[in-house]
């Protein structure tokens, strides 16, 4: 399908969605018994698209949103960085030391099976209500994704590539640098979207459960005073923000993994 046509259809879906929401929440649909107008989507519960957009606009216009965005971004980036580094190091160590992997296998599985949200309160207790409780929550999410990918990536280096590299005269250190490391990194990058997304989840959920700044805090505050417009405005900003991050990640991925065959290309 042509790119233009596809884009037009995608925009159409958005317009229909906004249209239904707008009509349902602003056009009265008869009257209720007490004489008040009846809406299919009562604005108290659903707000209206106009109000939400106006609120988003206002947040950006008066600049109040930037501090919250910055804090959420900082938490997510720290969670991603720490989680990735720990995941790469431990994934490497486990893949190269089978005994280590065998000993810790059940504990890793246990830790991964635990829903990480339940850690949020304990982290708030340990690390306070500042950014670090959110960062560590994000780390517990990011770590396992990167860890499992690196572990898998290092162990699944094709035997023939390894044998070839050894025949080319590589010693253990050179194998690590020229074979294991790039193989592991390619797996880290292919899980980049997931791990960046989880870093964001960690940050926002942490903020939601107890903080004084950030997007999760904004949404939680609005919810606390039945400000549905504020909740939706926070969600819209969060969504746009995550999509923006995703575009940046795609860009980085394309640059770093240019040696990887893309599925559409055939030679």
């Amino acid at each position: 399908m042509a790119r233009g046509k596809l884009l037009a259809l995608q925009i159409l879906v958005l317009l229909v969605f906004l249209g239904v929401w707008h009509i349902g929440s602003t056009v009265p649909f008869g009257k209720m018994e007490n004489g008040k107008p009846f809406f299919l989507l009562p604005p108290f519960f659903f707000s209206t698209p106009g109000d939400v957009l106006a609120r988003v606009w206002k947040m950006f216009a008066d600049g109040s949103i930037y501090r919250h965005l910055g804090i959420t971004l900082l938490e997510a980036m720290l969670a991603f960085a720490i989680g990735s580094i720990a995941g790469v190091l431990l994934g490497f160590a486990f893949a190269r030391r089978p005994l280590l992997a065998a000993v810790f296998d059940p504990y890793i599985k246990m830790a991964n099976a635990l829903p990480r949200v339940v850690l949020a309160p304990i982290f708030a207790l340990w690390f306070g209500l500042g950014i670090w409780s959110k960062v560590w929550l994000g780390v517990t999410l990011v770590f396992f994704i990167v860890f499992f990918n690196v572990y898998q990536g290092v162990r699944e280096v094709p035997q023939v590539v390894l044998a070839n590299a050894r025949m080319l005269g590589m010693n253990e250190r050179q194998l690590l640098r020229h074979v294991y490391w790039p193989a592991a990194l390619s797996w880290v990058f292919s899980s980049l979207h997931t791990s960046v997304g989880f870093a964001m989840v960690g940050a926002v959920v942490g903020e939601y459960l107890g903080s004084s700044a950030g997007l999760g805090y904004l949404i939680h505050q609005a919810e606390g005073v039945f400000d549905v417009t504020g909740v939706f405005a926070g969600m819209v900003i969060l969504t746009m923000f995550v999509m923006l991050v995703d575009i940046v990640v795609t860009h980085i991925e394309n640059r770093l993994l240019k040696w990887k065959p893309s599925e559409s290309k055939t030679i």
Binding site: P158, A163, N164
Partner: protein
């Protein structure tokens, strides 16, 4: 059954390994003396893939190892490369007992063995860089070697951007740039189409002609074996596979692959070797049922 015995006699008077010409002469590039391979299976069972055999390759000699699928041809290469220690016997490289990897050998694998994250040029250069050569010098040598295998200007491509034949050329350059004295090749052109194989075989002969390395070339393609080599070894089907035939190829060099196939000597050899090989190929395919019966 009688036919089977007769066929065996055609290529070898006696089936004992000792009957093979085995003069581990001091100038031999590769000597495998009494090597055998036994795998330990689950539940304490053992599987003797290769019976004790003697194989040698003279310096500058092109030896083809021919046999049915799964007969342990690649195992011979892996033992010569030092990637796999023999269960019994020894490997000697230019008179020195081999322990660990064989530094004098270059190995061209059947499967794609290039590092997909390195460009063609880097894939070739890395074999020199790991020896401590400066990167600029390694790149220059790699560039020249890529040109020799007909890939001038393709250095910047990644393996996935190259065709199967081009990847084989890069792999060949990767091996040759380190100037090994011994070349081990495991059905290197197996996955390629017929025309590309022909071109690659000619390229290989052309390059080999220039410095005459000792070559161990494993293949299941009879035509390829005769056209390329000085000597053809025929292996029996496993288990306990061993060498059942040895043929000197007295075709003049340098050879043109396409023309050599019309020589009467080529046809004589082809008939003789196929006579030796045919029953083994059948055995290889019949093997699963035979194994069932044995139970």
């Amino acid at each position: 059954m009688a036919r089977n015995n007769k066929q065996k006699r055609v290529c070898m008077p006696e089936t004992e390994p000792e009957a093979l010409s085995f003069p581990p002469s001091p100038e031999a590039a590769v000597v495998l003396g009494g090597v055998s391979v036994t795998y330990h299976m689950a539940a304490g069972a053992t599987y003797e893939a290769v019976a004790p055999i003697d194989v040698f390759v003279r310096d500058g000699e092109f030896v083809a190892v021919l046999g049915p699928t799964g007969c342990g041809k690649s195992t011979l290469l892996n033992m010569t490369a030092g990637l796999m220690p023999p269960s019994t016997g020894y490997a000697e490289i230019y008179g020195e007992r081999l322990s660990g990897l064989n530094p004098k050998a270059g190995y061209l694998f059947q499967q794609d063995a290039l590092m997909p994250w390195k460009s063609a040029l880097d894939n070739v250069a890395i074999g020199l860089e790991v020896t401590g050569m400066a990167r600029s010098a390694a790149l220059a040598a790699a560039e020249a070697m890529l040109a020799r295998v007909g890939l001038k200007g393709f250095g910047g491509r990644y393996p996935h951007q190259l065709s199967g034949g081009q990847r084989k050329r890069v792999a060949l350059a990767q091996v040759l740039v380190r100037a090994p004295r011994i070349l081990l090749m495991d059905e290197p052109f197996g996955p390629l189409d017929a025309q590309t194989r022909l071109i690659m075989s000619e390229l290989l002969l052309d390059l080999w002609q220039q410095d005459r390395k000792a070559v161990m070339f494993v293949t299941h393609d009879l035509d390829e074996a005769i056209a390329l080599s000085d000597r053809v070894l025929v292996m029996s089907a496993g288990p306990r596979s061993h060498i059942i035939g040895e043929f000197d190829v007295n075709l003049p060099r340098p050879r043109a692959i396409a023309e050599v196939r019309s020589e009467p000597e080529f046809h004589r050899l082809h008939a003789a070797i196929w006579g030796c090989l045919r029953d083994e190929v059948r055995k290889a395919y019949a093997l699963p049922e035979a194994a069932e019966e044995a139970k």
